[in-house]
Amino acid sequence: MKSIYLDHAATSPVHPNVIAEMMPVYKEVFGNPSSVHQFGRKARRILDEGRRRIAYGIGANEKEIVFTSGGTEADNLAIIGTARANISKGKHIITTTIEHHATLHAVEYLESQGFEVTYLPVNENGRIHVTDVKDALREDTILVSIMMVNNETGVMQPINEVAELLQGHQAYFHSDIVQAYGLMDINVTSLGVDLMAVSSHKINGPKGIGFLYIREGTILESLQYGGEQERKRRAGTENIPAVKGLQTAVEIIEAERSTYKEKYLHYKELFLQKLKEEEVPFEVNGSEESTIESIVNISFPGMNVETLLTNFDLSGIAASSGSACTAGSVEPSHVLSAMFGSEHPKTTNSVRFSFGFANNEEDIVEAATRVSQVIKRLT
């Protein structure tokens, strides 16, 4: 039985070109970019080139890019780093109830350290209201952190409007764009954010690397102590092969974004169409028109997410609840709870399917067929 991967929002396969670009770096460039000899310089060139190329793609300058170990570290650095450095300006932070845990647990930590956090609600469509940001904003607000695309539902948030609202306010605006970056054209000037977290492995790059965009002039404290790498904002010897891999992944998505968008939207429609044909009862969670092409979160009435996911896996379909697990068992999703209320059946009967590089049309139809078979058997 062929295994079909529909969990690209969790992580994605590495693009062959990425591997091809990384291999020679692994083999030939082992120097430490901080070293004052030719081996170091060779590595430093790759680091600089990667940084420059990535900055260029989002309309930033290269000094605004800090490489991290991934999305989580980038979110942590953005949130905790700015909170600590700007405590004299206030202790109030605004975020949403549907953030990734990389954000939520970071602000919870800050709460334990005396910061005040306002968690904005979302509506049934999974979107925040910009007016809620306006109402929550205070003179002593120092940071607003709102994700661009939710990882469980794929729903896009009104980042532009929030950025506009924050014009002229002291608060920094951070956005976790981990799920957005692969398909959305990002330009930091038009977007108006001060900080942005990106992960490499969600865009067919290697694991263990990501970056934080930090608008020039943003004051932030480093969370790691050590050498002076990344202009003292992230100590630790740089992962040069991964930088090369991330750079390549970025180049690929920049060239392919519009093709991917079209393709994944087609996959999504095909998948839902097939489920309808099979007469499987389902509902899509989150407003369809404001959902990213690659993600669909589906509620199967009367089902249980643990039973579904286990059955899907035993039928060769890899999907996800999108939510955290404790001891391997699926907890009710905090995102769906925020949308529908914590006792709502959708919090425990919904599955996230996310399409991507590993898929083709045939797989999508086959996956929908197998999903339908499981649902019918369990009905």
């Binding site: 643990e306 039973t307 286990t310 059955n311 035993l314 404790t326 001891a327 391997g328 068992s329």
Partner: protein, 370 residues
């Protein structure tokens, strides 16, 4: 019988050595084995680590060694509703519940069995020490070969339907053989200590645990003649026949719990292990379940256990009305405890069991045991 490779067996894996070896043996026999961890209780140790997370980590390690898929399922709500609520209610009534029997009946071999079947399983296997055989078209549950580890006492409520779908791969092995197999295969859990006590309490102090859920009501410790001997901490902390923790000194034989008066909150105590008040000659039980499916309609002789790891005693069982059963002992029995299970055997076959409600002496109910 289907070919093993086409036969899916879901193994309930706890992260312990027994269920690890059960999975290993089934895998070696060529079955399509799926390991599933059940999370029934949310608990965090003194270092903030969820104990279930640690156990699930062990399940993952073992399943990866065996190259079988692993999953988890959460039955916290069902466990709370069906097992823990019963557990507390029984203590409130002054009885001594058996949550393991209830867990097997309601969770492992009901909710979990249903879950396994929903995954297309043909069988559910566990690391219990017991055996199943088909005898003249009837499924029978037999004691484990290792009588010292035999767990049929806790499995007494299993029905024909359940027995037709369970596998106990360890039933024919001695515990030390199970350990040896685990070590021989280098299983991650080979040297893991067996869990002791009631699963949700774990290694913690029982009294402390119970006091978190039930208010303790101290009262008098008295002899059956009404002589006050001291104060007890709350009736729920004591069980019949118990010696420890009474704190009554003085001359003569040591003191034992011989009864409880829930209405007046009195703990009855008496001197000597063989105190006459601790002995009875029969009991009335309810909630009976018969492993062979057929409900007896006539009195019959068999052997019985009134608690885990006790030698069998000869008894005669009489069906009463309203689903009640009278069990008369061949010889007087000590410290028969309401709330515990009476489990019946015909030789090696476990016939089923019931919950002890009333203890009898000279055909009269003893009113001082709760």
């Amino acid at each position: 019988m289907k070919d093993p490779k086409d036969t899916r067996v879901v193994v309930g894996m706890s992260g312990g050595v027994d269920s690890s070896v059960a999975a290993l043996l089934l895998k070696e026999q060529g079955y399509d084995v799926v390991g599933i961890f059940m999370k029934n209780w949310d608990d965090t140790d003194e270092f903030g680590v969820c104990t279930a997370t640690e156990d699930y980590e062990d399940v993952i390690r073992v399943c990866n060694q065996l190259d079988i898929p692993y999953f988890a399922v959460n039955f916290e709500k069902q466990y709370w509703d069906k097992v823990f609520t019963y557990f507390l209610d029984e203590y409130k009534k002054g009885r001594t519940p058996n949550p393991d029997v209830m867990c097997n009946k309601e969770i492992k071999f009901k909710a979990f069995m249903d879950h396994a079947m929903s995954l297309g399983a043909d069988y559910l296997a566990t690391g219990h020490y017991a055996q199943v055989r088909v005898h003249e078209g009837t499924y029978e549950m037999l004691r484990a070969v290792d009588h010292n580890k035999d767990q049929t006492y806790f499995l007494n409520q299993l029905s024909q339907e359940v027995l037709s779908k369970v596998m106990f791969p360890l039933g024919h092995l001695e515990k030390k053989e199970v350990r040896a197999i685990a070590e021989e295969h280098g299983l991650a859990t080979a040297k893991k200590k067996d869990s002791t006590g009631i699963c949700f309490i774990g290694e913690r102090n029982f009294k402390e645990f119970l006091s978190e859920y039930l208010p303790a009501q101290p009262g008098n410790m008295e002899t059956l003649d009404g002589e006050i001997k001291g104060e007890h901490d709350g009736l729920m902390y004591y069980t019949l026949g118990q010696r420890q923790g009474l704190g009554i000194g003085g001359a003569g034989d040591p003191w034992f719990v011989v009864g409880k008066n829930v209405a007046d909150n009195i703990l009855y105590v008496g001197q000597g292990f063989h105190h006459d008040a601790l002995y009875s000659d029969g009991l009335i039980a309810s909630e009976a379940s018969w492993t062979r499916g057929e409900v007896p309609t006539k009195p019959f002789k068999c052997t019985a256990k009134f608690r885990y790891r006790q030698e069998d005693s000869g008894v005669t069982v009489y069906p009463l009305e309203d689903g009640q059963w009278k069990v008369m002992f061949d010889e007087p029995e000590r410290a028969i405890t309401p709330g515990q299970a009476v489990v019946l055997y015909d030789g090696e076959v476990c016939l089923g069991g019931a919950t002890i409600d009333t203890v009898l002496k000279d055909h009269e109910a003893i009113n001082y045991v709760g």
